[in-house]
Symmetry: C2
Subunit: 168 residues, 2 copies
Amino acid sequence: MLQYDSEAGRANGGRARTARASDARRAPDGLKHGVLPGLLGYQLRLAQLAVFRDFDQTMQDLGISPGRVGMLVLVGANPGLSQSRLALAVGLDRSTLVPVLDALERRGLLERRSGPDRRTNGLWLTVGGKRFLASVKRRIARHEQRFLELLTAAERDQLLKMLARLSA
Amino acid sequence: MLQYDSEAGRANGGRARTARASDARRAPDGLKHGVLPGLLGYQLRLAQLAVFRDFDQTMQDLGISPGRVGMLVLVGANPGLSQSRLALAVGLDRSTLVPVLDALERRGLLERRSGPDRRTNGLWLTVGGKRFLASVKRRIARHEQRFLELLTAAERDQLLKMLARLSA
DNA sequence: TATTGTTATACTCTATAACTATA
DNA sequence: TATAGTTATAGAGTATAACAATA
């Protein structure tokens, strides 16, 4: 799987290109992947795909995506949150959120109540939504565990810190 | 921005939940993000978004996505590659690839030539495609540089290794 | 005037199923 | 029968523009 692929070459400002070991080596699929394995964006993408694939399998029967779980968590942690604030927090346009919330409401996981302002909706988890979220959280813990097992505690801390630095 | 959000709780098999410092703290947007900042999948997603956002800006006038660049690199490194093998390598269905290749061919970046088999197309970069790819690679080098600057050389190696371990 | 939620619409990326031409 | 490429179609997920109600 490959969503990002390149050979960087001349990273050092005009000097002759330094061939890297990975440039000519063939991957398990018999193809040359060039410098890809050495590219941050590429490895980041592959790792993210692996983690999300496991997430999907973990949540299979619950039928919920990482993005939707994120919304439930935010509403759970910030009861009465408005749609616009939630949209901002999850990086979506507020119009995009409308059908998403419709679906979550139809599933009985959350509800829109009138907010402090007559323009505004406050978002709240239903009782069922809270129960659902608790179950999801337990599974997320197991899901995370599977990946954290691949790292030592020190590595785990370092990885999280480095990732946070990259996205800052 | 948030595509993945949760509070894990009980990661340790039934013992009482250990509250983490981040659980109640408010993020810069004034919202409680719960344990999110401590979740691997969440930080991975945020880092990937940041890197891809920078990639887009870097390639702005070239109008090419990470995924498309990956295809060009693979075709460049493996001339005569078949569509099916490319689809497999990039994790797409072979039917999905058809319109993508149509567009790249229309842009004059690659071409389908008859393959070893009369069912098969061989994919080749055009002269223009090679020139384009070379230009893209120079920009990728600068793009990568911006992120690698945030890490020491040792950290960079360690990060790439840890990411590879996660996706293995 | 500005903000909140909404609608209508469209674009991107992806998959599945069925087709054709080969093998 | 199986494989390579293609077509038609559909489903996520997202955005922009314009609107009504309210501030």
